[in-house]
Symmetry: C2
Subunit: 204 residues, 2 copies
């Protein structure tokens, strides 16, 4: 509390859930649509010092992804070319929650579309903010148990996907060497798998 007594922001405080000061939005302006994102410029005011600035928000639909396992505990992954990195990406099934869908419906739809699979049981694993500095959406994580193929793939013209079944050991190896490196996929998998780095040098 020493800094607080001098009028600075507190470095440490005891009540960790104190409300923090909101930044008033003085006005907002829509930017040029980016298709899946709607840029918005908020003119905001820093409550600490009155400094005014422009903040970018990308209005984004909700997202969903699914940790899918069969009765033997194998994991169902999808591989595809990703335009952001201009390269291949190993991921779990997922995508955008459509208007009028709830996240569970979207998870079931994406699993079916991307892999031709259904699941015996669906369990909500909570949700995360993909990036609270930029995006206004959440990504909902689900665990799908007893997954099995029920139909052929139904890919959009703009998709080119492959499904891969991996054992837990194979999956963990691909996480360890960063062949699987999508942060939102890792966020979902961390709710099911222990992803701590095993190298003792890295441990506390």
């Amino acid at each position: 509390m020493q800094a607080s007594a001098r009028g600075e922001r507190r470095l440490c405080f005891m009540d960790h859930d104190d409300p923090i000061r909101p930044w008033p939005v003085l006005k907002s302006k829509q930017g040029t649509s980016l298709g899946i994102f709607q840029p918005r410029w908020d003119h905001v005011k820093n409550p600490r010092n009155g400094h005014e600035m422009r903040a970018l928000v990308l209005e984004t639909p909700q997202w969903v992804n699914v940790v899918a396992r069969d009765e033997e505990g194998r994991f169902l992954l999808v591989r595809q070319w990703r335009f952001g990195i201009s390269g291949p990406s190993l991921e779990i099934p997922g995508g955008v929650v459509h208007a009028g869908e709830d996240p569970l419906q979207a998870g079931k739809r994406e699993l079916l579309e991307e892999t031709g699979c259904e699941a015996r049981e669906w369990i909500a694993l909570g949700s995360v903010s993909p990036n609270p500095a930029i995006h206004d959406n959440r990504c909902f994580h689900f665990l799908a148990k007893g997954v099995r193929q029920v139909t052929e793939l139904n890919l959009d013209p703009g998709e080119d996907l492959e499904s891969v079944w991996l054992t837990e050991q194979e999956l963990l190896a691909r996480i360890a060497d960063e062949r699987l490196d999508h942060a939102l996929v890792l966020s979902a998998l961390a709710r099911v798998l222990d992803l701590r780095v095993t190298d003792q040098r890295r441990q506390d």
Copy 2:
């Protein structure tokens, strides 16, 4: 392999690390700058069916974040207002890697700027792709051990931060109830903490 024999994409395959077909970029066009992001439209061609489409890439600087612990194993978090969600966010220190910096330098700088702290030891925890569908950057995770305060905060005019020290138990409680919900923070913490959901209903 049954689908492959019929000319469809394979649903499962044995060599999990087969190369996947690249999507050629026929031409690219820069969009209107968004400050921290440079939108780029790639005109791409689906290698599966020849379908041509426009893909958005947000060219983005590298990011870094730091799991910071003191000699007693307490975690150093920062709280701030985030414009994407128009609300408060509990995070680990981090930010953009500046031009000419390496990620470790950036981690040390961000820790000092946001908390006034330095560390006895720095350990690389690998890196992730924040979103390979959209962003071309990576986020580098570090573990900083033996963290202690060495100076007052040095906040930009556009920042309003508070630091919080949490025990491991307090931190895990905030992850469990989603008071800490930033995917990239969770990705870094998953390399140090076991984040599996404890509710038995959710376990496989």
